[in-house]
Symmetry: D2
Subunit: 376 residues, 4 copies
């Protein structure tokens, strides 16, 4: 930050969910940020310390409902959207003053136009929902069950896998942060596909996640007694992160590909692990994959390749913005196994969002993200 040192004024929409709370955890001590707005429709009027006692006493604003926000005067620079899927497109269109296209302008009544015009021009949006991740509008509609409501903005949105879209993110006003499963899957796979070292048509991603990946919504299958002391697969061949992963892998492969993506629910709060099974291509061996990844991530602060023979564990990245990757030869000739881990709420959500904010705001990318993992 330059000498005049005005802090970046930040709002978090959806602050009563886990990703919203994690944004607050990371942004409270961030040296360049001031949190000036927290919205949470169902908990409006409460202090964030009532909803999240671990955030009490940090000088944070009260929770308010989105419709009650008086934007003029807030002078917000950055809005983080941590809202449920399917609810963000209209809101982002309003925030970005893009009311002249798609479904939005039919919906925005005069009052809302006033509202929109009171939002500081030049605000930028870091979206943690899936609403702007899927480029193909038909694919979006198929997997999310409704037509896209801001297609022009979709064109503009940058898929915010920080390590692969750094430059686009820096100049973007709408960053669509990847999902947790896509992040943990793409970081190991993209360099290997780009290098042509794995067969793009034989990729199996067996993923395991802690429960916070499902958010804080009340669902019977998220009760402690339903999750504890057990494991199961879910969304088999039907999880929405499948097409998101395929979109990015297809770019890297230079052709449309379909992958196997099978998630499992693990009785733990945080952490996500992907075991990726690949067929080697073009004469590559497992060691070549390791080399490619080591070279690709040598200068990356948040992505590392663990030493040969070491298996990455989610507990070693808990609470941090790190992704760790290991590479192993398979006993089946011509195949390899890649294991990748991260904290789903940090590198898989709020941490990557802050990393992208740093890029958007011209700050050093690691600012506010240097926590040492919490183990045990």
């Amino acid at each position: 930050m330059s000498g005049n040192d005005r802090r970046i004024r930040v709002g978090i929409l959806g602050a009563s969910g886990y990703a919203g709370a994690e944004l607050a955890r990371l942004l409270v001590p961030h040296p360049n940020v001031e949190i000036v707005l927290l919205t949470a429709d169902r908990k409006a009027g409460q202090h964030v310390g009532e909803v999240f006692p671990h955030l009490a006493g940090r000088g944070l604003p009260y929770l308010m409902s989105l419709s009650e926000v008086e934007w003029s005067g807030l002078e917000i620079d950055i809005v983080f959207c941590a809202l449920p899927h399917g609810t963000t497109q209209d809101i982002v269109a309003g925030l970005l003053h893009e009311t002249g296209h798609g479904l939005v302008d039919e919906l925005v009544v005069e009052e809302q136009k006033d509202l929109v015009s009171s939002i500081k021009s030049g605000v930028k949006v870091i979206d943690l929902s899936a609403d702007f991740r899927i480029e193909n509008l038909d694919t979006y509609a198929e997997w999310y069950g409704q037509p896209h409501r801001a297609p022009n903005l979709q064109t503009e949105a940058v898929y915010g896998l920080s390590e692969f879209a750094r430059e686009e993110i820096r100049s973007s006003r709408l960053v669509a942060c990847p999902g947790c499963y896509p992040t943990v899957s793409l970081l190991p796979l993209l360099p290997l596909l780009e290098a042509g070292q794995v067969d793009p048509h034989d990729i199996i991603i067996d993923a395991k996640s802690g429960v916070t990946g499902a958010g804080r919504a009340l669902k019977e299958n998220m009760l402690f007694a339903e999750v504890g002391e057990g494991i199961h697969a879910y969304g088999i061949a039907h999880h929405r992160h499948g097409p998101e992963i395929e979109q990015e892998l297809s770019h890297a492969a230079g052709e449309d590909i379909t992958v196997n993506f099978t998630p499992h629910l693990i009785p733990m709060n945080r952490g996500i692990l992907a075991t990726v099974y690949v067929r080697l291509a073009n004469g590559a061996a497992a060691g070549d994959l390791r080399e490619t990844l080591e070279r690709r991530y040598a200068d990356e602060p948040f992505v590392g390749v663990v030493p040969d023979g070491v298996a990455p564990a989610t507990r070693h990245v808990r609470g941090s913005n790190h992704c760790l990757i290991g590479v192993f030869a398979d006993r089946i000739a011509g195949r390899a196994i890649i294991v990748s881990v991260l904290d789903n709420l940090v590198k898989g959500a709020a941490g990557q969002a802050v990393q992208n904010m740093n890029l958007v705001c011209g700050l050093p990318e690691t600012t506010g993200l240097e926590q040492v993992p919490l183990f045990p």
Copy 2:
């Protein structure tokens, strides 16, 4: 049991481990069994209720060291060996009066010969260790780090996957019970390979297990603080259950095959889940696999196929001898996903051992094994 109603006299060697305790849990209420011997070298002299308070007050004998057992008079019919890998071959040779071959006869001193002769002739052994599971002696030596000490008995031992070796088990005096990972992997895969519906050269088994699979030995990586709130893969491409799985799958496939087997440690006590990725063969579709499995297991009391669309969960078999299997079409054309679950201490260890004892003793196979799973 016939009218004279003498109970089967059972000994458990290695009764201070989790598999030993689980054998006791199942055998205490078994209507045809009397437990007359419990050995545990490091806890000799203690009552089992001191080591396992949940087994107190059940009239069980004191723990003794194996060397102190006075066999004459015990009149044991069945010995369960729940000892660590690599320690069972000599012991079983002695139990079965097979001291004339291999390394054993060099080791058995006169005193031991006397000991052996005091063991009731006709005793039968249900072994839960890996010592008699591997048919090929070189493979055994390679993976277990020592030459086999009772090769003649190896020839005689029956690999005790109950549903696939019922007749051999009935007439055997040495049953080598499968490991937990092999059991959960073989039950879904064997019928499909026999039916020629999956490509034997493209099988990936991504397995997840609770911690009791590692036993009760003191290892730093089994401490609560090392396991809780995290997940990691281990033994990648090097786990000893790999060759065991391959041995049985090779029999079914009619050719030597190599599979991918990658285990993961889950922060839970019990339960094991295998997610098996297969390439379909001979024009089969996922639905055909389902049909094959439903037909194969229609009359099996302990193996079931869950309804289409349902994902099996370990918590729904906890404490029971059941294995549940689900079949799903993959989004990659020509592939399918099979999920299989069981309780590693029951169907994956002690339950299958009791099932085999029932077979060996001519009892109804389900005797003592009809517990409803414990959920939550």
Copy 3:
């Protein structure tokens, strides 16, 4: 059971909750019972195997809503009510044909009278809710926020702590099973108060429970991510089990007493532990308390006193109907510490209910309740 061997025909109201499922787990293998009715209003029309996959394949009836039950023809002998607090009084009044008093007769319209008259006369009710536990109608109204709706039946109801009301239960048609916290607290305290060995005015019960005690209702504070990896007290000085405990302790003390009861939520599924701090009275020492409890429970099949120096653990009673009690001298002179454990879903709910059913039906009290605990 006598030779004619008609099975007891049982209905479970509220079969989609954890206590209902646990009743089914225990009653399915019960040799004298046939489950002929399962109700669950919100899951009506589903098979119990869809709601609780661990109960699939057991020949259980479909779930139906209570209002759709066609009672005539069911010929039910025993109804277990596992419904939420505050909903059971009207229903029980109907089941017992007691429509002539209280609020009930105003509410029961003609149609309902027909319904009631179709219920087999002589049905007996084992209630697991709190609706008939509190003798004093004002206390009930104060703590449960509504007037009692069947006061005449309240007079008749037996508080079903099996070990202390055996004879009354045998001849009762309405048994109000104690709550989980009261059961784990009363079993150690009642004999000591009766013996005059502890000061009734200085009793502190610090209790710790797993999450299933809170049932299966959707509450944010029961999500895995809210409960895992943490502990907190709740309902401090305001938990409804406080007055229930005081009612029974007052009977034993022969005077009205108030106790401290402070429950805590533990990140585990099952198990409840009470650490009870008492001041010794009438010259008693800790050893005298131990003796009193050992003598009191010497012939009880489900309550035991652990050896001196041993601390009872919930994991050693998991899945069983046992309560274990330990007694310790305090370092403060004249005080003692008592620790009591049980499985909240078994001895604290469904197990004790089945025990009471056995009493009501004249069966041996332990029938169907001889499970060895599941450890680990």
Copy 4:
């Protein structure tokens, strides 16, 4: 730190345990500290990243055995001792050049004297073990099973409950950091005893701790399968933290007192909660206790009183140096309940140690300790 900005050179003895690792987690990002020494006898020669992968890549030195340290050249300012109880007295005596008294001088051979003389004069010791916590040498010998080996240093050591010994700590060269249970118990109780608001002879501390409080030593009762899904009390009336708590409470009460202290093991990694039952004195009500605590801690950065009616939870302090306290009226007249929580590895160990180091070094007390808690 002043302009010349030489960093404080820190050594951690016992860096392969959990407290040692937590010290590293907190000190790596500490702006005024450089870690120049890590010892761990059993893991000497390994990089800390092999032992604790979450600390890899942080520029930390290799682990060495204590006997191999070449002190000259290290120029260490502060030594943190995170060694097992009973092993620290000799070592600290050497570090502080106090070899002329007690048992130590008999033991220190010439070579060791050379070693000692190579240690920078003026080094200060922050000890996390219990070796210097107990003032009374007889009490120490009784509870720790061996005579004190550096009694002169014991006289000098400051009991480092930061909020109560700030000035003494600032000028001390040997700070004995309190245990986790004492910290969570003393913070609520000391101000109340000083205010005369609670009866010092009727204090019951029912404490609950996560497993990391027991350290990383290999003990069967710390295996995941022994701890998971259960709860038990331990060390009832015999835990070593009892006399430590009593020592400090006696100072505050102005007379020797005995308290009830009963710890329980909870299936979680981090967190400690004390439920304290007190009898009110001198006409105080629960509200008065609250006021006393609010006033006492109004300006303390790390100790807070939660709002009336709110129950503190360990999960809301996880990973942070905070202690939260709640006060509740008991239903028994004249009694109150106090609940206190903290993270046993932070405020209960490494965090308080760093807080004390800040005091010793004249740094702002909160430096490096401003982490927001990690929830979920």
